[in-house]
Symmetry: D2
Subunit: 289 residues, 4 copies
């Protein structure tokens, strides 16, 4: 809890950063942070914002990524992140449980917790993960999504609201995806995210080429070869690296546990120090080990 | 949420495992798990139990390790872990906020959350981390600790109660440490943990040689060269690897973020797959990436 | 936190009480308790069980009764109630957010919190209050409800599961209501509740006359003139007084605040003592006022 | 969740109200609200602010009033209150668990939850209720309290900070009470509260006569005959009615439950309607009952 309170609201700072990104043609870079350890790492590495990922938080909570996270699960994460950094926090609320009143609760609770932005997607309730092969995902009616946008905005006017369409993920056309994005902008979204799992990245680039509205957001999980400069020149103003830190952590924990199983001891070179752990929240801590 | 409910209580299974450890002279092995991802890793690697570490949870919450975690912070972690594994969960409650009624609340809340055991230490409130160089740590009066043991047991009779003495950490003598352990056993502790930061491990081994009471527990952070067989032959029945998974995760997240900063991209070989993340809570999940 | 842990599980005690009610033809009486104050009152007055009401908890949380309560909102209430009484706690989970995985989360989280039973209703997601005039409420497909029953049971096998049908509330026929109840019993429900808003009580009595399956439950909000003996002879084994304590509290708080506004002072004869408030959780407390 | 977000911060509005109270010589009136039902009643009755009482919240949670409430217990209440009213919320943090870092956590968490103010008292950890006859209560060292004030302010600069001294409660002199209040003002408190259990009210009036610093606050539980005008002329700027609504609710719930036990039915004239309960959070709700 070392953060001084900033004079500008979290949402205000994120809006300003999106403005700068328009001038510089270099997108704001947000990274998924599932707890304060990840937030500390993100801040040290110079990321501009944090992303509270439905997939990451579901995994941390031991829940499948199927519309099970409530606003309190997410708000607790936001509070933890904000204790160690004042980077603006963007929260993935999935479809916000699919109703207007539920969107209002997510908005109110997350604004209360200090979030700068929420990202609301148009998957039909109940959703499954965008990259899941298991189950067909449908899209919600646009009228219902627009109603959610309006109720969320009314309950949390200060939040920056990113509307994400799963049209392309669900096999819809680019025309449909952009038409949905336009409706969401008209309903009050501050930014739009036409999500894509096209690993070539062409789909994302085409969406950017054809879009002329509010700032454009991307989650390049499926097309990591599009780097910051390319994304920025294409027109994206915010790039969200949604789950890489948890994936690095998971791989490393498996490696460490595996080494222990194989040899009866952890490998010191694979572990940060006890002092590093202390310093996540207490930068001046010193350990005797 | 794939776990079938076991017919035996978590505490009952942990007691049985401690009994087996006495016969086999191979200690039960518990590992710190700060969320369900770590719990999944621990279960896969064959650990016998999970440890909810004050240091790890503090770091995850963005709080310094200074007696700031309440029972709800810890109970939320226990619930998350239990969603993906039925390994017994041992919770580090530090000094349980130093009073009898506060110990009762920790006990009741953590038994409610499904914990198998709590570990109560005799640091004087407020405590700091055992390995911190910053601040002198005092010991609580033994009468107050025994009162806490009794109130905790009354509030949560089923919990296995490990009493940890910080005598050696605070510069006290082995005689004093063992005298405290005896008092705590007499007050109702089911196991004792004379904590040590002696990196040679000799202190731990001497404590084990001289102890003849309830099962003995160790946290070998400072003496990792004492392996399972050595610890078991010395007389330990439970070895707690308190924070290695978070330290592995922290190092790996830093590595991944550093690679991204240096090159503009994450290194795929450092990351688990999206599917691996899904499978933490949904073992059959399949991703298209 | 004065409760000794009982040797029998909460669900076990509730099952036993339902069995006794069958012999005695006097239904188990549960009353809505929104916090530990209400639980203390309920225990003093000799009620047999507590009900965690969606309407009451929504009001306490400041949320409309429209499917907005998550499992954590409800679990917190269960934990508070259990701190002052060991009466079995029955939790109103509404439609459990309408999906199988969401029902599993409610079941797991509420069993963890120490609930004895949950009551799952077959309103279509999103639901509104059964007595609301505002909005048409639909019924969920029976297949989806049965799937929820199965997932809830799998995630929380020990919980007693009450299936509530809103058929009559939604204008459906008695035949349809009983057919749904039979399907839910076949899917694994331990008891059924055909909810009715018929203020004459005839609908409830007809349901009872025609039912021959698992124990029958009633919430006689709309027909309070049917007393315990009448309900028992009709065949009900559990009567839930869902929200009367909150309604008494609300009326009294209004009265007290109104008196203060009118006269500048509270009326002592309308207030319990400070000591009474202390004794909710500490029966021996004494105040000097 | 009907509240529009106000352009001014909660703390700013409370500061403005205290300023008005200085001109008008009529103190701001705050009333204890343990949940959103009470908050709705308080708003309807024209109170200016809400008080989150340690005693009331402890009773609602089923915990003795002995320093057991964590910041999350209190923050949840703040969030519930704010869903139905934008009255500024003042939170009783007792001694904030007695340390500087713990005071910082309370401050950060409660500012996050949307509190306008906190009230920090100088009882020695662990505290008991001010009106308890059971246990001797000591005072904390002033240096420790001043350190808490500074850490709380640093962690939550926007919060209005009320410092409460228990000197008179603990049998100390008026000189000592006022000297402590001066130290707390010098350390950064925005207002001071010299708590008194003198039922004549003379002690409170003397404190007010002799005080010349930051705005003065009173909790007139023990001297309700001092009305708003008298308190204002004496010099108080904020009067907190700490627990009357819970006491009214407790008495009424007992009355309702007693009537049911005696007659087998609730008395309709003692109960608010189902519709009233719905309207706590949804002012336009209509019930068919």
């Amino acid at each position: 809890m070392t953060t001084a309170v900033s004079p500008i609201s979290p949402a205000g700072r994120l809006r300003a950063a999106l403005g700068d990104a328009t001038s510089s043609r270099l997108p704001v870079q947000a990274i998924g942070a599932v707890n304060a350890m990840a937030a500390r790492v993100a801040a040290e590495a110079g990321f501009d914002a944090l992303w509270v990922s439905g997939l990451e938080v579901s995994a941390a909570c031991g829940l499948p990524d199927e519309n099970l996270l409530g606003s309190r699960d997410l708000a607790d994460v936001v509070t933890s992140l904000r204790r160690v950094t004042d980077l603006p926090v963007i929260v993935d609320v999935d479809n916000a449980a699919g109703t207007g009143p539920s969107a209002a609760r997510y908005g109110f609770d997350l604004l209360t917790a200090g979030a700068a932005a929420v990202c609301l997607e148009d998957s039909r309730y109940p959703k499954c993960n965008s990259f899941s092969e298991h189950r067909a995902q449908g899209l919600a009616d646009t009228a219902a999504v627009c109603e959610q946008i309006k109720e969320l905005r009314a309950a949390a006017p200060e939040l920056l609201l990113i509307a994400r369409t799963e049209t392309l993920i669900c096999g819809g056309s680019m025309d449909d995806a952009l038409a949905r994005a336009e409706l969401y902008e008209a309903a009050g979204a501050d930014a739009v995210l036409p999500h894509s799992k096209d690993i070539s990245g062409r789909e994302a680039l085409e969406a950017a080429r054809r879009w002329g509205g509010v700032p454009l957001v991307t989650v390049p999980t499926a097309f990591p070869h599009l780097d910051r400069r390319l994304l920025g020149e294409a027109g994206f103003r915010l790039a969200i690296y949604a789950n890489q830190l948890s994936r690095a952590a998971l791989a490393a924990m498996r490696g460490a546990a595996g080494a222990f199983r194989a040899t009866g001891a952890f490998r010191a070179d694979q572990l940060a120090g006890v002092q590093d752990l202390m310093r996540v929240a207490a930068p001046d801590a010193r350990a005797c080990l």
